[in-house]
């Protein structure tokens, strides 16, 4: 078997999640979570204002429909606590380009002093489009900017670290229960 040394941590976690899903094995401590209670936390905390599940919800963050088929519950628990730490990579768009970090935050300041903070929706050498916290797109010409800084580790999603250990497990268990529909 060839080595897979070039994979990122996120990619490795996705593969681990997939292999685990093949055998329906237990997922460790977070498996003690109750998905029904987790759904109640999801609703109460306003997660749906930014995430879609089965076509319902806001569109600022990733669509969580089927997320349980992509990520294990223990990975999602880590994400809930530190949302910007392990952002997903885009699909490869060309042999040269490699994978781009999605939802990456930038802070741009125009030459006339206007500041825009947002997630990268698109970027070229000359242009960038940022999506701000309200979901508004800002199309910016890089030559018109005074500064453009990446903000790695940052996310519009608030950390859920204030939840109790049990509630974190419940919420993670709910997300893990969101399986992709069979094709």
């Amino acid at each position: 078997m060839p080595a897979f040394a070039g994979l990122t941590d996120a990619q490795l976690m996705q593969i681990v999640a997939h292999i685990r899903s093949l055998g329906n094995t237990a997922m460790g401590d977070v498996a003690t979570g109750d998905p029904v209670k987790g759904q109640a936390i999801y609703d109460a905390n306003g997660c749906a204002s930014c995430h879609i599940v089965n076509g319902v919800g806001g569109d600022l963050g990733p669509d969580l429909t089927g997320i349980g088929s992509l990520r294990p519950a223990d990975f999602m628990r880590l994400e809930l606590q530190n949302p910007g730490a392990n952002l997903p990579k885009s699909p490869v768009t060309g042999i040269a380009i490699g994978k781009w970090t999605e939802y990456l935050m930038f802070r741009a300041v125009t030459k006339d002093g206007r500041a825009v903070e947002g997630m990268r929706a698109a970027e070229s050498t000359l242009e960038i489009v940022l999506e701000d916290a309200k979901g508004n797109y800002h199309s910016l010409h890089k030559a018109d900017l005074k500064s453009l800084e990446k903000e790695p580790g940052k996310s519009f999603m608030p950390s859920q670290s204030s939840l109790s250990d049990a509630d974190l497990n419940n919420l993670a268990a709910y997300l893990a229960s969101l399986k992709a529909a069979a094709q």
Binding site: L7, I95, A96, I97, G98, E123, S124, T125, L126
Partner: protein, 522 residues
């Protein structure tokens, strides 16, 4: 007398070189002196030296910001492969290649199609290690030449597209295919093949331009009893494909071609030794096909670093002496200058932040670092398998002795069986202007991703190229400052911009994915 008048009128039309003439003769002497007819683009690299430099200067630093699109040609059939061909322009007619192997002639003033020719291609055509695309045609004496994906060389009438002859270069069923542009010189047409990533033996052929009869062949890797066989550790050499274009020095009567990687590409345990003549530049006698000299850039390559980048011929003063030189920005990350008469190493320097060699020794051989050999657990190495430069062509400006190359700062994690590319966010690309004699960087224009676009320089003080997000642009040739850009769109385009003029008006033509677009001043 009447016939003489007609002949005189025709000669006048041909001399004018305008669209009204549509002569398309392109005799050898005219290509030899390509710099005297900057209204044309007569070879893949613009001339036999592969300078990709045009003497046109209607479009220049002061007005390039006013460059606007004037026509767009859309491919009639979409095959999934991108346009990579460099167009040729002769007397107002443009010759392009639509992938995989369709030659189309356009009115260079309007983009209107005049004729098109496609070969009969087997449905199960093989092109291992290559894409199903093509780098362009050659022209000589009223005939257009194309190498086809199924490994034939075809000669077409330049005015009508009628087939004059077609020959099989090698068997496509044995994994040989052609993506390279032919090189048409004095009475002969030269072409190499690809397929070496699946054990095809690299070769370079010359054919009689009139009849298609093969004049000579040189293999790029030796058989058991041939010179260089001892550099394969007892293995039979494979690979060393000549899958990109070459250059020609008419005074030395030498053609210059780079060769591809040894096969298998990774690991290398089955082929101990330097693996001649892979990853090398070959200087071949254009009349006999005999190897005059070789220079190997990457001995025993295990990173897929083909050395098929375009060799650029130029003359410069080194140590107080005027010398005939060849410059090449290699896929391995080093820029090399060699004496093109002897193959002697003159100078070399990295043009990207390579991580595998301490440098080059006095003969130009790389001093490998321990990180050269990929560990089973993976070794991060710059450049990646796609290289510091790949097939896209550089340009050389004889007025300032600068070499413009699209450099790729993209690393990969290598193992003995393959490689994974570094994340897009930590890679980037740059147009870099190198002192052609030393390789020292004068300026760079940085892009967010490594690009697949050739460079074009002009007497207007401009360098044209493009980025990986689909922008095409013009830079100040002296400073690298951005002077003009146009969003052609289409991620990952593969372009080779050229320039020409019709009726005194200068055009710049750039392709992107499935179109050719012409730009001019309004």
């Amino acid at each position: 007398m009447k016939a003489m008048k007609h002949a005189l009128a025709l000669a006048i039309v041909m001399a004018a070189g305008s669209a009204a003439g549509f002569a398309q003769s392109a005799p050898y002497e005219r290509i030899l002196n390509a710099d005297k007819t900057p209204q044309d683009w007569l070879t893949y690299g613009g001339d036999y030296q592969s300078h990709r430099f045009s003497g046109l200067k209607e479009v220049n630093k002061t007005n390039v910001a006013s460059l606007r699109p004037v026509w767009i040609y859309q491919r009639s059939q979409i095959t999934g492969e991108f346009i990579e061909a460099t167009p040729l322009v002769v007397d107002g007619l443009m010759y392009i290649v639509e992938p995989p192997s369709t030659v189309t002639a356009l009115d260079a003033r309007t983009g209107m199609k005049i004729w098109s020719w496609s070969p009969k291609m087997p449905k199960d055509v093989k092109y291992i290690g290559l894409h199903a695309n093509n780098r362009g045609v050659a022209i000589l004496d009223g005939t257009v030449y194309i190498g086809t994906l199924d490994c034939h060389l075809a000669a077409l009438d330049a005015k009508t597209g009628a087939l004059r002859w077609i020959v099989e270069v090698e068997k496509n069923s044995d994994n040989h295919a052609i993506s390279a542009n032919p090189l048409a010189i004095n009475g002969e047409v030269i072409i190499g093949t690809g397929g070496g990533d699946r054990d095809a033996r690299g070769l370079l052929d010359a054919y009689d331009a009139k009849t298609g009869k093969r004049l000579w062949r040189i293999y790029t890797v030796p058989n058991k009893d041939e010179p260089g066989a001892d550099t394969w550790g007892g293995a039979v050499g494979n690979g060393g494909d000549v899958w990109n274009g070459g250059s020609y020095d008419p005074d030395l009567n030498l053609v210059y071609y780079g060769t591809g990687n040894p096969s298998p590409a990774f690991g290398g345990g089955t082929r101990p030794g330097d693996n001649l003549y892979t990853c090398s530049l070959l200087a071949v006698d254009a009349t006999t096909g005999k190897l005059k000299w070789h220079f190997q850039f990457t001995p025993h390559d295990i990173h897929d670093w083909d050395s098929t980048q375009i060799p650029v011929l130029f003359d410069a003063t080194v140590g107080g002496k005027r010398r005939k030189l060849v410059g090449l920005a290699n896929r391995n990350g080093f820029y090399y200058v060699l004496d093109r008469a002897t193959g002697e190493f003159v100078a070399g320097a990295p043009y990207i932040s390579q991580t595998w060699a301490k440098g080059l020794d006095e003969k130009g051989r790389p001093i490998k670092l321990p990180s050269y050999d990929p560990a089973p657990t993976g070794t991060l190495t710059n450049p990646s398998t796609s290289g510091a430069n790949n097939w896209t062509a550089p340009s050389y400006d004889p007025e300032n002795n600068l070499f413009y190359v699209s450099a790729r700062e993209l690393a990969a994690v290598f193992t003995p069986t393959g490689a994974n590319f570094q994340s897009g966010d930590s890679a980037y690309g740059a147009i870099r202007a190198l002192d052609a004699t030393t390789g020292k960087m004068k300026w760079q224009y940085r892009m967010i991703a490594p690009a697949w676009v050739s460079t074009l320089s002009t007497a207007g003080g401009l360098v044209f190229s493009g980025d990986d997000e689909g922008d095409v642009f013009a830079l100040d040739a002296d400073t690298g400052k951005l002077l003009w850009s146009f969003p052609m769109s289409g991620v990952d385009p593969r372009d080779s911009p050229i320039t020409y003029s019709v009726d005194g008006k200068q055009y710049v033509v750039i392709s992107s994915i499935n179109i050719y677009a012409a730009f001019a001043l309004r």
